[in-house]
């Protein structure tokens, strides 16, 4: 941390900005305690991100504390189950380009998952005969979980900063629920 007078900052502003960019906190004392701190944009974003994480983790913990072991049937969940029913009713060539209908076993698997998930996604069919669950957290990260009939599920995450990760995980309810909680936690 560097403490610098306002006058020094004014005459060497580039040097101080460079130092802040490199990670230094520049504290500028002012009259009546109206001090300011110069930090880099990266540090500012990181501080904001931590604030979001803390707020969200608190909200989730509260939600858990207040809920029983059975997850309540929220409106969102109810809408998701209705949408899944619509997906189940899609017929051959439903996308106008040869997409096939969805198997009963896939629909059943996704229904079980929706019933168990503590945080509800948005649900979409794909022309690949998979069902895509989408989550967006308070940090503005985005996660897609693509479910098919296999024992695995594909996860795709794009963070607010544009960093992407793709991986394949076990497609069981416990593993997927844990990944969802990790995404929000």
């Amino acid at each position: 941390m560097i403490i610098a007078k306002q006058m020094d900052i004014r005459s060497n502003i580039k040097d101080f900005f460079d130092k802040a960019y490199e990670g230094e906190d520049i504290v500028v004392p002012r009259k009546q305690g109206k001090n300011v701190v110069i930090i880099s944009e990266d540090k500012y974003k990181s501080l904001n991100q931590n604030k979001h994480i803390e707020a969200y983790a608190g909200a989730i913990a509260k939600q858990y504390k207040e809920s029983s072991s059975v997850v309540p049937m929220t409106d969102v969940k109810s809408d998701n189950l209705k949408k899944l029913k619509n997906i189940a009713e899609l017929r051959e060539n439903w996308n106008g380009n040869g997409a096939k209908p969805f198997s009963g076993s896939l629909i059943k698997k996704v229904r079980s998952l929706l019933e168990a998930l503590p945080i509800q996604p948005e649900v979409f069919p794909t022309a690949l005969q998979t069902i895509q669950l989408e989550f967006d957290n308070a940090r503005h990260d985005h996660m897609e979980i693509e479910i098919d009939e296999s024992d695995e599920a594909d996860i795709f995450i794009v963070t607010y900063f544009g960093e992407e990760t793709e991986e394949t995980i076990h497609g069981d309810i416990k593993t997927i629920s844990e990944r969802v909680m990790k995404f929000y936690g």
């Binding site: 949408k83 997906i87 897609e144 992407e164």
Partner: protein, 121 residues
Amino acid sequence: MDNIFRIDEKLYRAVYPPEVMDMFWKRDGSVSSAAFADRNGLSVDRGDYRPESEVIEYMSERFTGHIVSLYVKNCNDVGAVVKYSPSKSNVYHSEIHGSATNKLLSKTQRRHLAIKAKIVC
């Protein structure tokens, strides 16, 4: 029309299925990347610099539902390939492919196009 696409040409995608029109719409009003997954290539109508009302009218003759638009640049930005593929019933038919050798768009490409897509009607 030929197989040359300039970056400012618009592409129009009909979002099926018409019987459940909000199937691919997210709660925030945007379209899901799931609408851009297709092993057969993503069917679009090229704009060919026609007025948007003309494009909508032409597409509406063949289907009922929502239409989203993209620019060729949006595809180029993520390495997706636009191919002119006219059919007997649709002289504007084109396809967006993941690459020169793979028709399926990657997850990154789908997400990018979903973000860039503008809802036309």
